[in-house]
Symmetry: D2
Subunit: 266 residues, 4 copies
Amino acid sequence: MANSRYEYVRNFEQPDNLLPSTWLVVRVDGKGFTKFTTKHEFKKPNDIRALDLMNRAAKVVMENMDEIAISYGQSDEFSFVFSKDAKAYGRRASKLMTLLVSQFTSAYVFYWSEFFPDTKLQFPPAFDSRVVMYPSDRIMRDYLCWRQVDCHINNMYNTCFWTLVDKGGITPKEAEKRLSGTFKKDKHELLYGFDMNYNNELEIFKKGSVLVRDKVFVDVVDRQNVVTKREKTVVKIKHCDIIKDAFWKEHPEILGEEETRSERNE
Amino acid sequence: MANSRYEYVRNFEQPDNLLPSTWLVVRVDGKGFTKFTTKHEFKKPNDIRALDLMNRAAKVVMENMDEIAISYGQSDEFSFVFSKDAKAYGRRASKLMTLLVSQFTSAYVFYWSEFFPDTKLQFPPAFDSRVVMYPSDRIMRDYLCWRQVDCHINNMYNTCFWTLVDKGGITPKEAEKRLSGTFKKDKHELLYGFDMNYNNELEIFKKGSVLVRDKVFVDVVDRQNVVTKREKTVVKIKHCDIIKDAFWKEHPEILGEEETRSERNE
Amino acid sequence: MANSRYEYVRNFEQPDNLLPSTWLVVRVDGKGFTKFTTKHEFKKPNDIRALDLMNRAAKVVMENMDEIAISYGQSDEFSFVFSKDAKAYGRRASKLMTLLVSQFTSAYVFYWSEFFPDTKLQFPPAFDSRVVMYPSDRIMRDYLCWRQVDCHINNMYNTCFWTLVDKGGITPKEAEKRLSGTFKKDKHELLYGFDMNYNNELEIFKKGSVLVRDKVFVDVVDRQNVVTKREKTVVKIKHCDIIKDAFWKEHPEILGEEETRSERNE
Amino acid sequence: MANSRYEYVRNFEQPDNLLPSTWLVVRVDGKGFTKFTTKHEFKKPNDIRALDLMNRAAKVVMENMDEIAISYGQSDEFSFVFSKDAKAYGRRASKLMTLLVSQFTSAYVFYWSEFFPDTKLQFPPAFDSRVVMYPSDRIMRDYLCWRQVDCHINNMYNTCFWTLVDKGGITPKEAEKRLSGTFKKDKHELLYGFDMNYNNELEIFKKGSVLVRDKVFVDVVDRQNVVTKREKTVVKIKHCDIIKDAFWKEHPEILGEEETRSERNE
């Protein structure tokens, strides 16, 4: 083949397969979203349309990569947790990271007009992604705790900040100063002063979004018009606590049973 | 901070900075494009609208990442060559690969309707990407040769194949068999039999697309309506040979001057 | 400093820190030991002096690196298992691998004459090493099982082989043919034919060597000649089964207790 | 095979092949040599026996690994430069680093008594090693410049320091203070004050040791006692400048001719 003379350049590609039997977390992050949200007039502190669009894009990703056990999203970021035994693309880091971020971005732009029917997309947004290995269930769960606590802290802060600016009529700079050094209790009280109860805020704002797989029964109609039920796996979006054990007991399929040696070898 | 308890999970992120002073090539590849092109009825063997859209997306990438010295695209793939001294994102492999593929995908979906005004996008397409280091100018150039020769070989084959099917009226299977074992000369003759001259095919089909930066002078109008010329760097799309030396002599800025030690340290 | 002009070359060093919370196994292997053992007339199938020297060298390594939880050696190889939480040298792969293999080799040559008083070392022997991460206790244990089963299989084969050659008076080639396709039972019977019982072979040959840490009480004499007992950790060499659970129950300190999150963060 | 049940653990080994067409430098460094040199009463600032022993060990390494183009040593460190096209062990980083440091250490202990006939080795010394890729000739040369300049700076400082302590009769602490902030010129003058001329110091102290390969003719005697000359490659030890171009012009075989594409593919 005439091309073989140059094909030696392929030898410069280096393998990047991730360690077997570890949880793989791919996190997608909005690139320059401060500018993007301003340009598209996102509501502050949270724009429900934007969060729903993020969830829609994440759903596409989960439907395309069936080894993702659970996903978690908040603000302009989304984390996808591949099961410990995931085999997709030979666990090559670059394949997993790039395909996933590409699918996510593609769906985000594709479904934009469905969630922002009155706002024209001004320029193509971008996301980056990374992949991290977590060797044990506990550490993988701690990763998700980290993101959900981050969601909580940021949302509480931002809710206070924009309340001070929008209802309190002070400048962003003054709001920042006002909030500096305050604790959770102080923030709750501050909101009460504006007749707001933080606990009544939307769960999607306070907890973020959790995507899990669920089994449902769908009607299948055959040629003779006979209807039968068939089990189907679908992606469900929840806004619940994933820090406490309760969630994990309700979803035992995520962690799976502890593998035994014999299973691994059959 | 309440979050610190979980923050230890960040220690599992591993650095992936690429070697300094090497050319970095990020190649973007269409994922499952056989299905995608069928679904969207791309013209065979080449759909000029699809190639123009690829070029448009690549242009967005080059405008966003100014350390890309040259890009080369053909079919559903695009290669971006970062200069040896590129410093973007600390040369972190994951950042470069994922941001780039995300920007490319985003622009592809964003500009779709401009290039396919009569074809609705049916589902969000995806691309993967990888990054490879090339230590010398010669090897980086050989990489580009590899891709351009690949373009040439595939295009010649596909042109014959679809001519046999479309004009010759034989089945794809028969066409494949007919072409098996043929040489360049045979393929030229085959096309002559259909009154076609391969040399008259479009350059974009035969050579692919080369994106380089060019300096142009644009008119700048100030408040007093005084017009002045200002130099501006723009991305130009060419369909030329990049295998022979001529191209590189015309574009000395791509390889740059051989760095000297003193320069490197200032 | 006059040297700063060249110091940029340090930027080409790339980090290679291993994943936290995984078992690290460094295995040392003899390089070209077929030639080495022939040249130094090692007894076949096992030379107890050589195995004792390997153990002596491994002991030096364990005394120098206190995060090694257990080591296992057989033939011309030795595996060192660093605890999941080992922090030595920031878990840099190159530091761990190279220092360990250097210490091992150094001790091997240093103590040679103690174990081979009548055999002059002819040339300096060499070992290579590698490091592998194992994410769970079970998989790390399976690694050790792999090596101990390997010891067993090889030793049984070699015992038969050299019995056939030494006592049976057949050529190595014939012995190889004679053993081809035989099972464990056949090998036991073969040895019986030479009045040998495989079960009576030395444990160090059949099981290899297991190095663990043990606490002992030593007498400490002060200036007034008062003797007090003090606890001291020493390295013990055993030749026991490490496949079954019994060993691990006797040595709970190797696996340690399952870490809890709070511990990890204090 | 009974062992196959555990053999899955091999899947956890990760490839670490280094980039083709780059210079590979493996540097060996003494571990805890301050203690080692004190314990073995090395002469200060330089012990010629110790440097000769380092060179002897390095020679063994070069004789065993014929793709090493040049080595450079000073103090308790030695750098080995593998040619750009070296293929040994598939360019696996761990194999190269560990075998090399093991061979070096082994030879160091093996030859100790030859260079220190009156000093018994008290305990087995250890070295670590690392491997770094350098993409161009210039950068690889700058690496060697870095080490030779380092040798020069340290040796000048140490020569002054030990002169002040040994001949000047001041304490190490005072000597350190006395030298703080001094320039090259000051140090030359300081030595003149003790009737010493730095330029007359041994070249091995000022320049370190450069090991290159040289072709010599050796007499070969056959059975009929006929003597013929045969070319043989030997390792030569020099103490010359490797910063200026002169050295590289005298040794064109180190850099080799610029490879051309056609060569690379044949």
